[in-house]
Subunit: 314 residues, 2 copies
């Protein structure tokens, strides 16, 4: 019942300690050797080393420590018969909700302009629509998008969503399928992207899409908030759209590649807010408690939350 | 049934147009003359000219267009037998909720530091507690404070409140009365002030109060968010507290006097965010609809929302 932990760019020690607190009997290893390979039943991974999961005869479950499994599915060495679950604990979901609500309000309430006025000691109120006059459109209505949408409604925004497949969602209207995308975009003042990265969503945040957003709304122009994946956005299109007014402003937390290149013009654009992929980081304590619960459900033969469908890619 | 409109610093024309849309038959005047004084039954005011309400023999109701009646009650020429109502429509309440949620998240999610990192093209994640590890304490739990508290809970924060008198509030804990203030402050990471300005609350945001806020919490230190009234805060105490670490950061929308003096050190303090009293401006359309409804209730002999108690001062 050993766990193999392999998380690119993360210090494993807080994770091992947190797993031990959640389940003191559980063995945790961070490397595969001849003597432990057959004991490993569970892999907790984030962008694991290529090939590390390929020779584990008793591997039962792969836990992806985050919402996006695009990196995992791109690795052809991963055995296809082992189920993958996305670990998306309430702690991550709420962190993403915090970030989305903050970025939406940041642009809606003119924070960049007020910071500049403060720097110049200017006392001047700017025209301000109410949140109820602004529609936030959430592209991707899984657990993250739904939580953000509900919180945005409580702050007063109109909220609509778009999803690849139909959703049972009563708290805001969700458009389903590609045919509905133009109507969804045409009603959206602030576009929030929380899509998974799949072949279909690669490069979806393009100039052509930005042009379909609502014009003449309550804000100075459409706003883009991307907390999905960097490969979904075309940086040159964002810059062009910001410069010609197709977009009024953008908040970007994800890039391709990461870190964002030092030479990128996004860093210095006055209406782009760049953050270093921090919208919703996993926290060892909350995440470990959640994943250990999932493993126990698996050991009791119960169904798991958020099993990945390799065919659709998320 | 004429309305007298007198709003310091506001253009009356959008208001007159909005009142006419809400109630086309209603007469609106902006000055008192011998021939109209006896027709005036209602005064819609914001910091009215001293004496303008003193010679209106048939005045039945004074409507204060905003939450704070401190300026109105300080004017001794206003007849004491005429009831005053505070016009606090859902539009204003939600605008204040937007602003409070934004300012709380702004500090919680390190926006000033990330903006500075962007300026320097630094890609670095900062330590980030979850909102659930942070307690927002709302000083003043009337309509505005309650709405903000509920929205902050939906974003994930722990929320507590303090009120002068006991409240029936089930969505978060409200401490009541002066004896409870130290326990309330001792549990508060981010203090939000939405108190009315009364003799008791003048200067309440002092160094002595800041020292009672929670130390050693999940944030780098306590945060102050003031959207009440400028006269509640002692600017020199805020600066001292920011400089010696008693406060980590502050967002201030109100000052005494306003505009904030050009010489104030608050403008340039790196951890003070100064905005020009824009947290929740009245909107003629939404407000006029609301107030006309209140006037109709009055004309039908029904009780009014938010009648001011001159004795307690709000």
């Amino acid at each position: 019942m050993t766990i193999l932990l392999d998380m690119k760019g993360w210090d494993p020690h807080p994770w091992i300690a947190a797993i031990k607190r959640a389940d003191p009997e559980r063995q945790v290893v961070t490397a595969v050797a001849q003597e432990n390979a057959s004991a490993i039943r569970y892999a907790w991974v984030w962008r694991p080393r290529t090939g590390i999961l390929s020779n584990l005869p008793n591997l039962e479950l792969i836990v992806n420590l985050g919402a996006g499994v695009d990196a995992l599915l791109a690795d052809a060495t991963i055995p296809t018969h082992v189920p993958i679950v996305r670990a998306l604990d309430p702690n991550i979901t709420m962190r993403m909700t915090e970030w989305i609500v903050l970025q939406v309000l940041y642009h809606h309430r003119h924070i960049p302009a007020y910071l500049e006025q403060q720097r110049q000691r200017i006392w001047r109120a700017l025209p301000q629509p109410a949140a109820s006059a602004v529609t936030v459109g959430i592209l991707g209505c899984g657990a993250l998008g739904t939580s953000a949408g509900v919180a945005l409604r409580h702050v007063g925004f109109e909220v609509i969503g778009w999803s690849r497949t139909a959703k049972e969602e009563t708290r805001f209207k969700v458009f389903a399928g590609g045919d509905c995308l133009p109507s969804f975009l045409g009603q959206t003042d602030i576009l929030v992207c929380l899509l998974p990265l799949t072949p279909e969503t690669r490069g979806v945040l393009s100039y052509g899409l930005f042009r379909q957003l609502k014009r003449g709304g309550a804000l100075a122009g459409p706003v883009l908030v991307n907390a999905g994946r960097g490969a979904q956005q075309i940086d040159a299109d964002i810059l062009r759209a910001l410069d010609d007014g197709t977009l009024w402003a953008a908040s970007l937390d994800v890039f391709d590649p990461e870190p964002l290149a030092l030479t990128s013009q996004l860093w210095a654009h006055p209406r782009a807010f760049v953050t270093p992929h921090i919208a919703a980081d996993s926290e060892p304590e909350a995440m470990s408690g959640y994943v250990i619960k999932q493993i126990r459900r698996h050991e009791q033969g119960l169904p798991l939350d958020m099993t990945v469908d390799r065919g659709r890619g998320y």
